[in-house]
């Protein structure tokens, strides 16, 4: 409702229905999506509309503002005006390079303009935070930062300090903020800052589908990303003990005549037999758009061997100590990656397709390296006690009551869903809590 997400309510166990008025209509599936859907359904794999933050129609600027900011007329007015300045997708230009019409959600283009319009936001760029300073009364009193344009050191004072520097950087700031009260790093009386770092389990496989060869030209850019996906579906099998791993994954997929890139027709010898010349050009026309790609994104269970700490000997160009990382997948993750490979190969086979080098059935080889999916979360986890976690359920650190962490660092687990929307939901909840505590003069 706030950012605009397309999708559908399919009543699946993994993906509960959204309240009415939340989801925008999903874009029409591509022909490759429909073929995947037809063939995957024979394997019992559900292919449904994915949830993605792109406006397929304008946001409901008449109804939503009052629901988003009840009782706050100024906020309602600002957000309603901003919603009218975001256009619906025009089905062109790559989302990943930024969206000039603001159809694609980015925090920078969607949240900052209305926040600036309140007059209550001041943005300092090129400010590299080195540490959070602690007052002798035990409260955070602000941060010290380096102006990256000239290397000078500055401080800002604050009633409440909120770190949202991305999980690892937030951890780094905390560990670098040492003082007499917290010699192991700020808010780290539990010793848990840096621990239980997680990424997403990732593995991918692509196939070539003869049925999709030489199709008539058509515009398949679509919404610039996925239209459909497969949410985790094997609850029953897992419960019956038929799988050799815990937790689940979803499948992302893509195909179609996407904008040719520098890799188009690369490594195609296995199909072309090494053609060149006019035959190569004919082969390119034949095979372009006939590939489908599958990427699994699965849950990682936090473990004691995956953590980060301050490197004792390396600093960045500003002289600030950097992190070093330790990583180990458990068998739950590697077996899950092997299961992904088998599943993708089965779908491709069911489509009458072929895989260049076959699936990678050794899970340790099939899994992407830790950090590769860039869903790093954890490191300052939320929990029920100050001994076992770093923050409470409001992202408020147990040790310093006016210090909040509103990025992925507080994740105590990393479900297969991509983390951004959960981070935003937690941050929103935390912001409401901060306001509440400030009104009650508890902060």
């Amino acid at each position: 409702m706030l950012i605009g997400i397309y999708g559908a309510s399919d009543g699946l166990e993994n993906t509960p229905n959204s309240p009415a008025g939340c989801l925008l209509p999903p874009p029409a599936p591509l022909v490759s999506d429909l073929l995947i859907q037809q063939r995957a359904s024979r394997l019992g794999i559900p292919i449904v509309a994915v949830h993605r933050a792109v406006l397929t129609q304008q946001l409901d600027f008449r109804r939503s503002p009052a629901l988003l900011h009840p009782g706050n007329l100024k906020a309602q007015k600002i957000i309603a005006a901003d919603m009218q300045r975001r256009a619906a997708c025009f089905w062109a230009t790559p989302c990943g390079r930024g969206c000039s019409i603001r159809a694609n959600y980015q925090s920078t283009t969607v949240h900052l303009p209305p926040a600036l319009a309140t007059g209550n936001l001041h943005i300092l760029t090129d400010a590299m935070v080195r540490e959070v300073r602690l007052h002798e009364n035990g409260l955070a009193q602000g941060v010290t930062f380096i102006d990256k344009t000239n290397g000078s050191v500055h401080s800002v004072a604050a009633r409440v300090v909120v770190l949202a520097a991305s999980a690892c950087e937030t951890v780094r700031i905390l560990l670098n903020s040492k003082n007499a009260r917290f010699p192991q790093g700020l808010a780290n009386s539990s010793g848990n800052v840096g621990r239980y770092l997680m990424d997403t389990v990732g593995s991918s496989l692509s196939g070539q589908i003869p049925l999709l060869e030489s199709l008539p030209p058509q515009n398949e850019d679509g919404a610039g990303g996925e239209h459909v996906y497969a949410p985790w579906w094997l609850y029953r099998e897992q419960h019956a003990g038929k799988l050799d791993f815990a937790r689940g994954y979803h499948i992302e997929m893509g195909g179609g005549k996407q904008m040719p890139g520098v890799g188009t027709m690369n490594g195609a010898e296995w199909l072309t037999g090494g053609s060149y010349g006019k035959k190569f050009k004919e082969d390119a026309r034949r095979y372009y758009g006939s590939f489908v790609g599958f990427a699994g994104r699965g849950e990682m269970i936090p473990n004691e061997q995956s953590y980060c700490e301050i490197d004792p000997s390396v600093t960045d160009k500003w002289g600030i100590p950097v992190l070093r990382f330790h990583w180990q997948w458990s068998q739950h993750e590697t077996r899950q990656a092997a299961h992904m490979q088998k599943t993708f190969a089965a779908i491709i086979e069911a489509m009458g397709g072929r895989v260049k080098d076959g699936p990678t059935l050794d899970g340790a080889k099939a899994i992407s390296p830790g950090g590769y999916i860039i869903h790093e979360v954890g490191g300052a986890i939320m929990g029920g006690s100050k001994e076992s976690s770093v923050t409470n359920q409001w992202c408020q650190t147990w040790d310093v009551k006016n210090l909040f962490l509103t990025d992925g660092a507080v994740f105590a687990s990393n479900a297969d869903k991509n983390p951004t929307l959960t981070i935003m939901a937690l941050a929103w909840r935390s912001a409401d809590r901060i306001l509440d505590l400030m009104r009650r003069r508890e902060l």
């Binding site: 874009p27 029409a28 599936p29 591509l30 022909v31 429909l34 073929l35 037809q38 997708c89 025009f90 089905w91 062109a92 230009t93 049925l211 999709l212 199709l215 008539p216 030209p217 058509q218 515009n219 398949e220 850019d221 679509g222 919404a223 005549k257 996407q258 904008m259 040719p260 890139g261 520098v262 890799g263 188009t264 027709m265 690369n266 490594g267 010898e269 037999g273 090494g274 053609s275 060149y276 010349g277 006019k278 190569f280 050009k281 390119a284 026309r285 372009y288 758009g289």
Partner: protein, 223 residues
């Protein structure tokens, strides 16, 4: 291409500059030795890093961000090979005519790790093409007629079936074809050749036409 395979190919190719340096006495055109000299001169210096991203608000031309590499003789060979791989046909012009040689020159001159690996492969490979053309036909590759060019390319166009003495050249050819295709199919002419119709604003995205669905054996969606 991974580093291990590139190193192997470079070792296999390392005898070639020696061959080229001896070449004039054996009647091989002098341009070939120019190529070898240029290759030596253009050998990568110790890596010094490449700083931060360029200013993307400016329009950059080839050579603005890093010096280009290919000599006129190397460009002739590069263009000749590009156009054997992607010649003009009824659908579209040849690779060299849409600027693929400029693209390749910028690519092999770039300071990034993957491009530096390609640089060694491509420069040695171009040298090999001319040496092989000279050996077989006493001309440079770009000066050969089509049947002579094909006689060489047929031996190296498919890694899987290339004879052992052509294994390294086949690896070069595979990468050169990939880069030529990458340069060509990202040009407006190349996109059009493939039938790419996207990147234009639409009021509505309707999904696949019924004709396409029928070809694949699918019924149009009911909704």
């Amino acid at each position: 291409m991974d580093r291990r395979r590139t190193l192997k190919w470079m070792l296999a190719a390392s005898a070639m500059p020696l061959l080229a340096r001896r070449a004039p006495a054996e009647g091989i055109p002098a341009a070939l030795t120019d190529g070898a000299a240029a290759l030596t001169a253009a050998a990568p210096a110790a890596p010094q890093g490449y700083g931060t991203d360029p200013d993307l608000t400016r329009i950059h031309h080839p050579g603005d961000l890093w010096p280009l590499t290919l000599t006129p003789a190397q460009r002739r060979t590069a263009a000749g090979l590009c156009d054997v791989i992607i010649p003009a046909d009824a659908h579209s012009p040849s690779a060299s005519s849409v600027g693929v040689v400029d693209f390749l020159d910028e690519w092999v001159s770039a300071p990034y790790p993957n491009q530096r690996e390609d640089r060694a492969l491509i420069l040695e490979g171009l040298l090999w093409m001319d040496a092989e053309a000279s050996r077989r036909f006493a001309k440079q590759f770009a000066e050969l007629d089509q049947s002579a060019q094909h006689a060489i390319c047929d031996d190296i166009c498919y890694e899987k079936s290339a004879r052992p003495q052509f294994a390294a050249a086949a690896k070069f050819f595979a990468r050169y074809r990939d880069l030529t295709a990458g340069g060509f199919y990202t040009s407006p002419e190349g996109r059009k050749d493939l039938g790419y119709m996207g990147n234009v604003p639409l009021l509505k995205f309707s999904g696949p036409p019924a004709e396409v669905l029928r070809k694949v054996g699918l019924n149009p969606p009911s909704s």
